[in-house]
């Protein structure tokens, strides 16, 4: 790991956060080109470890990968700076859109646009379900977890936080031996 000034870390992650369109994989390639190849802040192996940490910790994987890199470069200060850098542009734009959205409430055209977008978001959610299921549901055990969680929320209206915790505990019980 190199000794990089905090300001440079912030600026690079601000750039990454601003051009962060196009999903996880294109983002990870962008990260690697910028940080490993161009700036040589970390080695390829250190990068792969950071990506792994990002994927196995709660929260957005890309941001978490950045936090891990920031932490390795400059400890806690690095972690905070990479987070702010990555979140800044999106947050500002989101607030501007929220202001616009509230101001135009009742406008017929905006209403129609949002109706179209609402329907598309439902399609988007289902496609995410489809893609995640293709990667994760691989045998009858994982299928039982997915289907049980579905009915527990859709039909029995159980609390999703409780369901996530319960599935973690049951996962430990069921998959403990196969994981070792």
């Amino acid at each position: 790991m190199k000794n990089v000034p905090l300001r440079n870390i912030f600026l690079v992650f601000l750039k990454i956060g601003t051009f962060a369109f196009g999903g996880v994989y294109s983002m990870l390639t962008f990260f690697e080109r910028e940080l490993v190849e161009k700036r040589k802040w970390l080695t390829h192996d250190e990068y792969i470890d950071s990506v792994a940490v990002g994927q196995m910790t709660p929260g957005p994987p890309i941001v978490n990968t950045g936090i891990c890199i920031g932490y390795n470069l400059k400890q806690l200060r690095g972690a905070i700076v990479t987070t702010i850098g990555q979140a800044f542009t999106g947050t500002v734009l989101a607030i501007l859109l929220a202001i616009f959205y509230i101001k135009t409430k009742g406008n017929v055209l905006i209403g129609s646009i949002m109706k179209g977008i609402g329907a598309a978001v439902v399609g988007l959610l289902l496609s995410i379900v489809y893609k995640m299921a293709k990667n994760t549901v691989r045998d009858y055990k994982t299928a039982v977890f997915a289907i049980t969680a579905f009915f527990a929320l859709a039909v029995f209206k159980l609390n999703p936080i409780g369901l996530i915790l319960a599935s973690g505990i049951l996962g430990f019980v069921v998959f403990r031996r196969t994981t070792e």
Binding site: M56, I80, Y130, I169, V174
Partner: protein, 171 residues
């Protein structure tokens, strides 16, 4: 008081959601829409759309929700409460990476959580779908959007912008 509750929910959600931003949707929907009625289904969908078309992770949708509830301070607090657990957990994991990496508890629990959250996400699509899919045109838009994102490499940002255009023309 509302703001405190709001921040606490975001903090808990972001501490638990493993595997990407979409995983937080079932919890947020349950708490914000069904339990506290801070948002309608349509407003929740709109917040997701904003999170999707802005750069960076879907988490920025929380800034939209925070703004709606309490203005600028709500938006800023939303982002702090969303990212604080990430910073805490990731720095701890980085520090003890090798212990964490080998941990059977972590890995086997994740094996249960990952398929379960898929089921939760599918379940939350039901109330959102009944709100937004009301006629043939909205049904068509949903099918188009599903097909485009599931089977092609089109960026979801374009799908959402395209759906907005279709909405302006036909709805």
């Amino acid at each position: 008081m509302i703001l405190l509750k709001f921040c606490l929910i975001l903090f808990v959600v972001n501490s638990l959601t493993i595997g990407g931003g979409y995983v937080m949707l079932p919890v947020l929907h349950k708490e914000f829409v069904e339990k506290y009625h801070w948002l309608t289904n349509q407003e929740f969908l709109d917040a997701i759309a904003v999170g999707q078309i802005t750069p960076g992770p879907l988490t920025v949708m929380n800034a939209v929700i925070g703004y709606k509830i309490a203005g600028l301070i709500g938006a800023v607090l939303a982002m702090i409460s969303s990212y604080m657990p990430c910073i805490i957990i990731v720095t701890l994991v980085c520090k003890y990476y090798f212990l964490y990496k080998e941990s059977v508890i972590v890995h086997s629990s994740f094996k249960g959580i990952k398929p379960a959250v898929i089921g939760l996400l599918a379940a939350v699509a039901i109330p959102l779908g009944t709100t937004s899919i009301v006629d043939l045109i909205t049904f068509g838009i949903a099918i188009l959007s599903f097909t485009a994102i599931a089977f092609t490499k089109i960026d979801p940002t374009f799908v959402i912008v395209g759906a907005g255009v279709l909405g302006a023309l036909f709805l």
